[in-house]
Symmetry: C2
Subunit: 147 residues, 2 copies
C-alpha cells in the first residue's frame, strides 16, 4: 500500500517514518515496527442491525473517526428482518461489518495503517448500535523483527 | 446475516442447525456454537503483490475454494510499483487483502460462515503469491456460552 504516511490530522507524535534505505511505508510506533493495527470487534445485545442505511451511516462515521479516507463502500441486505454485510475500502486498509439481528450480534473488523487510530471508531459504534457488551481483540499486522 | 446455512458442497457432517426455538443462523460445530471462522493471514517474501489483476484473480479463486459465494468485489491500486487493497463481500462474510510489495508483505483476512472452510483458501494464496512464510491466526466469531 502507499497510504501509510496517513492523514494529516491524527496524533503522529510517536510515529516515525524510515529516513534511509529503500522507501517503504511500514511505521515504527513506540519502538515496534509493523504495518497497522487490526481490531476484531464483537457487539452483543446490539440494536438496529437490520437497518441497511443506518449500518452504512454508522460505519462511515466510525471509519472517518479513525482519521481514515474512504475509497469505496458496499453494503448488502440479506432481506427483511435479516442481517447486513458491509465493507469500506480505505486508503489505510478496510472496515467490515456482518450482522445477525436475530442474535442481536454484529462482527466487525477495523484495519487501519499509519497515523489512524482504530479505537477512535468505538464511540460511533457504541452510539449507533447501543451494544450491551463489546469484545475486542487487536492484531498488529506485519509485525516483524526485521529492521 | 442470512447465509449461514452455507453452500451445498462443503462437508457439513459436523455442523448442525438449531431445530427448535426462534430461527437463527449460528452454527454448532464439534459442540461449539458461533457465527463463523475468521482467519488472519500474513504472507511474507511474497510475489506479484503490485499486480492488480493477478491479486483480484487469486483472491476470487481463494474465496471460491472456501465454498463461498461472491456478491461484490472492489480492488484499488495505489500506483505504479505500489500496493493493492481489495475486498470481496461474500454471502458468508468477506475476504480482504492489502499488499506492501516494497516489503514483499501482504495482510489478508478471510471470514466465512456456515459450511465454508477458510483454510481451503490457502492453496490458492500459496500458488498465487508464492510466500516464503505464512502466519495464521483464527478467531471463532460470535463465540458464546449462550444456547
Amino acid at each position: 500500500m502507499n497510504a501509510l504516511t496517513g492523514p494529516d490530522t491524527p496524533d503522529t507524535s510517536t510515529i516515525t517514518a524510515p529516513t534511509d534505505g529503500p522507501k517503504d511505508y511500514f511505521v515504527t510506533r513506540d519502538g515496534v515496527r509493523y504495518a497497522g493495527a487490526h481490531l476484531i470487534i464483537d457487539l452483543w445485545d446490539a440494536d438496529r442491525l437490520c437497518d441497511l442505511e443506518h449500518v452504512d451511516r454508522v460505519l462511515r462515521q466510525a471509519a472517518a473517526d479513525t482519521g481514515a479516507t474512504i475509497l469505496h463502500g458496499h453494503f448488502h441486505h440479506f432481506g427483511e428482518g435479516c442481517g447486513v454485510s458491509g465493507v469500506l475500502v480505505l486508503a489505510e486498509s478496510h472496515v467490515s461489518i456482518h450482522t445477525w439481528p436475530e442474535r442481536r450480534y454484529a462482527a466487525l473488523d477495523i484495519f487501519v495503517c499509519g497515523g489512524c487510530d482504530p479505537y477512535a471508531a468505538l464511540p460511533a459504534l457504541r452510539a449507533g448500535f447501543t451494544p450491551g457488551r463489546v469484545q475486542l481483540a487487536e492484531h498488529k499486522r506485519g509485525l516483524s523483527d526485521a529492521p
